[in-house]
Symmetry: C2
Subunit: 297 residues, 2 copies
Amino acid sequence: MSERTSTAQAPAVASAPTRRVRQGPVMPIGGAEKKGGDGDETILTRFLELAGGSSARIAVIPTASEEAAEAGERYVKVFSKLGAADVEWLRVEQRPDANEEEALRLLREATGIFITGGAQATLVALLAGTETMEMIRLRNAEGVVVAGTSAGASILSAHLMSGENFLPENSNDAAPRKGMVHLVAGFGLLQDVIVDQHFSQRGRLGRLMAAFAANPGLLGIGLDEDTAVLITNEGMLEVLGSGVVTVVDGRNSISDYYEREVGEVLTVVNSHLFMLGPGRRFDLDSRQPIGIGEGQA
Amino acid sequence: MSERTSTAQAPAVASAPTRRVRQGPVMPIGGAEKKGGDGDETILTRFLELAGGSSARIAVIPTASEEAAEAGERYVKVFSKLGAADVEWLRVEQRPDANEEEALRLLREATGIFITGGAQATLVALLAGTETMEMIRLRNAEGVVVAGTSAGASILSAHLMSGENFLPENSNDAAPRKGMVHLVAGFGLLQDVIVDQHFSQRGRLGRLMAAFAANPGLLGIGLDEDTAVLITNEGMLEVLGSGVVTVVDGRNSISDYYEREVGEVLTVVNSHLFMLGPGRRFDLDSRQPIGIGEGQA
């Protein structure tokens, strides 16, 4: 790996008009990925391979977890058992910690960066806009794989959903409602997509459509548990794990977002729906699946 | 209402090439519809209006419920409180009961028929193919409104989903898998659609897509709780209640159903997705929403 020691501000990935040629893979995971060591931990194994296999140096970011030390140690064990050369976790208890050399050193030396699940708000509050975030961007731009699970998956994109508690009283919380979710700025390793996790398990299609109605330019990616997408710098998405990935393309969608009041149920029609099983690939540029139904949408 | 007393076999609605001119409305409800009497029971009120309002004679079919008498009495109270002239419930404890004159008389005199929720399998086992079913078809063909909630909603269609327990070990139960669900013959009041309920609440998009992959000619209708669709003999669907209706059109869908083994996750691409809020209408023939995004799918 690179021995660069500069902590210079990373290029603003979010505003780059074209993808960075060297950008490393980005891997959002839907939560509850298998960690057992009995051969079914395909997602974490793939991550480790991309990080260099037995010579991998993994930096775990457990900041989202209420018990960060516990979560950090847990993944240290998991990745060590899977054969990583070195695994360490980042201690960020307060926002200033995320600008400390200790945190930056870990990331600078890492060949793979893994962000755990927990409270998305904590992740945003402690990391967004810090040197840690800039270093994650820089390392990814240099080719290092970055994965995140659950809350850690959402934060990878330029936009993530927030405010799921903002719901009218007596609402049916599954329906898409105006104002139900808001967009928050994430790390920006992915553009033009919005990622949700525990997708089928928590009935989140409505929530995704609510974000989507207000932001039809985004591609919605719903990740089930133990399911991930590997996204390359060429915009190719590949499904990993045991479940299904739900992709909603709103290029032709029409909604009544601007006619509805906050709290009212939204109508969103003419979206394209893709449910992709393990191993399936999807071209994010053309918004077409590969190897099945190509050019027929 | 008609005073016909003949119990002659109803016309085979399922095989009719065109819709019956006089067919009454059919109203599948997604379960947990409001019954409170505090003005939010819009679905049941609409049903009652269609059944004749204050002169309505409602037949309640609580056969799906484990405690049928209790469920029956409950709806008797609800509809009486809402102003129905007469409400009675049908006692069918064993299959032969469904061929008895007592049951048929109730249905023959009804101006509205309401099927409660519970175990779908019980509903199929005790009613499918009986004189009771034939009488429900006949009365609907004569113009009487038929509603059903939860399991009672699924049974209204020609096809309903069964076998949700048939899942491979360690499966992510939210993903669509080959063989996850099977089709069972329902009452046949609706054609070419498959209805699922508690849709967002129980994360059932995967289940619907599994049925759908094997039967791409069907239109999938996912009903959220306290949400219903009113379907007229002209094929117009209207959304009632507080939630959202998810319509999946597979006219252009492509799946890998025939390449997958039983238990494997399915991929289904290029489906059209419509999320319809309260009051929205959808034309089942053209498979287009009305008043929003028409002709643009």
